[in-house]
């Protein structure tokens, strides 16, 4: 192809694929509605219970702060991942270093999870404190460029500060969950007093908390799924090769469904973190999933791939 003006123009256009306006809009709407739910919940709290309630809010604030600051340690412990130094896994370190440089991130710590189920996660409260963990299965069973796609996906989670965003998004949901529990106890032990002979306060708070919790949970999961799409998109940008992430996701998903449930329980608590969760459900249950279904992710990646140049078979 000669360098005609037309091909120059197409080269300029190529730079524009970094954005997905629809995704940003949906993410913005979700966060907006979540914010509304929380404001309404907050007003209800003040309205019905008075200042005493802020003790609970403070406690949960502290809890969620601690959780945020120890997110890397908790995830490493829960998954059994071991941080590895360069000498133990030089190729993995090389790969992570180059991709982190491409993403303009400081090099995260690198951890390996001793299980044959291929998977990976990233966590940590800040870009400096982050960890990328891959399972032995991921490294052994996937092609290097597929592993790159997966690591780039995890690096995008770090770049987008997903741990922070999701911690903030879940704060009032935690408060609501706690209050629902307290409300129930309060009711059981007769702690609630009538106000002007109407419905007891504990019952109102119980119902309000439950409703807040359910709505915000669904919204949080929605946000989480959108952020997975965003991470897939970022991975496509960093590696320049969405098709390898597509084949990696397919391999990971098929591995996961092949393996008997017994093995999966070992890592089941980690689903929100992993690149592909181990418990896949469809239909209505999709509302409560942290990750979008595989076929939707593949369709989006194929679309990015087309944006980048060549159509890929779905």
């Amino acid at each position: 192809m000669a360098s005609t003006p037309a091909s120059r123009i197409s080269l300029m256009e190529r730079k524009a694929y970094g954005r997905d306006f629809g995704l940003s809009l949906r993410m913005g709407m979700t966060m907006f509605v979540l914010g509304l739910v929380y404001v309404a919940f907050f007003i209800a709290l003040v309205q019905f219970t008075g200042v005493g309630i802020f003790g609970i809010v403070l406690i949960i604030g502290i809890l969620s702060f601690v959780q945020f600051f120890t997110s890397d340690k908790i995830a490493l412990l829960a998954s059994g991942a071991k941080v590895v130094e360069r000498e133990q896994a030089p190729e993995l370190h090389d790969m992570v270093e180059r991709l982190a440089a491409m993403a303009d991130l400081p090099k995260p710590r690198v951890a390996v999870i001793p299980t044959d189920v291929p998977n990976a996660f990233a966590t940590g409260r800040s870009q400096k404190k982050s960890v990328v963990a891959v399972t032995e299965g991921l490294w052994n069973r996937l092609e290097p460029q597929e592993v790159e796609g997966v690591i780039a996906h995890e690096l995008t989670h770090i770049a987008n500060r997903d741990v922070m965003v999701m911690t903030i998004a879940s704060f009032f949901a935690m408060v609501a969950a706690m209050l629902a529990r307290f409300g129930l106890y309060g009711g059981m032990f007769g702690g609630g007093r009538d106000r002007s002979g109407g419905t007891p306060v504990w019952l109102i708070m119980f119902v309000v908390s439950i409703v807040t919790y359910v709505i915000s949970y669904v919204l949080m999961m929605m946000l989480s799924r959108y952020r997975e799409y965003a991470a897939d998109r970022g991975a496509a940008l960093i590696t320049g090769t969405p098709e390898y992430l597509m084949s990696a996701l397919q391999k990971i998903a098929s591995r996961i469904s092949q393996i008997p449930q017994r093995d999966l329980r070992e890592v089941a608590g980690m689903n929100a973190f992993f690149i592909v969760p181990t418990n896949v459900k469809r239909g209505f249950a999709e509302l409560f999933m942290t990750h979008p279904p595989l076929e939707k992710r593949l369709a989006r990646l194929a679309a990015i791939s087309r944006e980048m140049g060549r159509p890929v078979e779905p």
Partner: protein
């Protein structure tokens, strides 16, 4: 990344900052006189080609690019892929100024061909120490850092840090050590 990009999960790739690469020519005296390190006349530009899917087009553009460089510079430029799927454009020139100029030319040609965001690093080799010294220039950061590989995928951190202290006045050195990525088995 700005708050908006964090909120909406819009990770974007940073564009290449190539101009600080010229600072290397003033650091050369320090390297040669004070440290006894001589430029080996070899350098390379490292980038990640877009995608297998764009390969044909990239292939043509790369040839075009090499032709442009060959016309404008006297240096020898060759291509090499590596096992990570990255491309190396290797520049050889015994004149150090020309070497830097050609590396910069290659980088800016890549950028003007739409590969700007895929540019990762430029590497310059220096000999004279126990192990060869590579000065790596990170296009994302616009800064240099030393890389001294020794033996089996190990690097000589002590000497690298010493070089950092000595070169800091003349070269923009990457201050965040966690970004000093290594380039083992490099082709120069």
């Amino acid at each position: 990344m700005g708050l908006g990009n964090v909120l909406f999960g819009r990770k974007k790739l940073k564009k290449a900052a190539g101009d600080k690469i010229f600072a290397l020519s003033s650091a050369r005296v320090t390297l040669e006189v004070e440290l006894g390190l001589k430029a080996a006349g070899k350098a390379a530009v490292l980038f990640k080609p877009m995608s297998a899917q764009e390969y044909v087009r990239a292939e043509n553009e790369m040839q075009e690019l090499l032709d442009v460089v060959a016309q404008e510079a006297a240096s020898r430029v060759t291509r090499r892929g590596d096992e990570f799927g990255y491309e190396w454009l290797i520049v050889e020139d015994n004149d150090f100024e020309d070497l830097i100029n050609t590396v910069h030319l290659v980088a800016s040609e890549l950028a003007s061909h739409g590969f700007g965001e895929q540019l990762l690093a430029a590497v310059f080799r220096f000999d004279g120490g126990e192990h060869p010294l590579y000065l790596i220039y990170g296009f994302k950061r616009g800064a240099f850092w030393p890389f001294i590989p020794k033996g089996d995928k190990e690097r000589d951190n002590a000497n690298e840090l010493e070089l950092k202290a000595k070169l800091e006045k003349e070269l923009p050195i990457e201050q965040d050590l966690s970004r000093w990525f290594a380039l083992f088995d490099l082709p120069i």
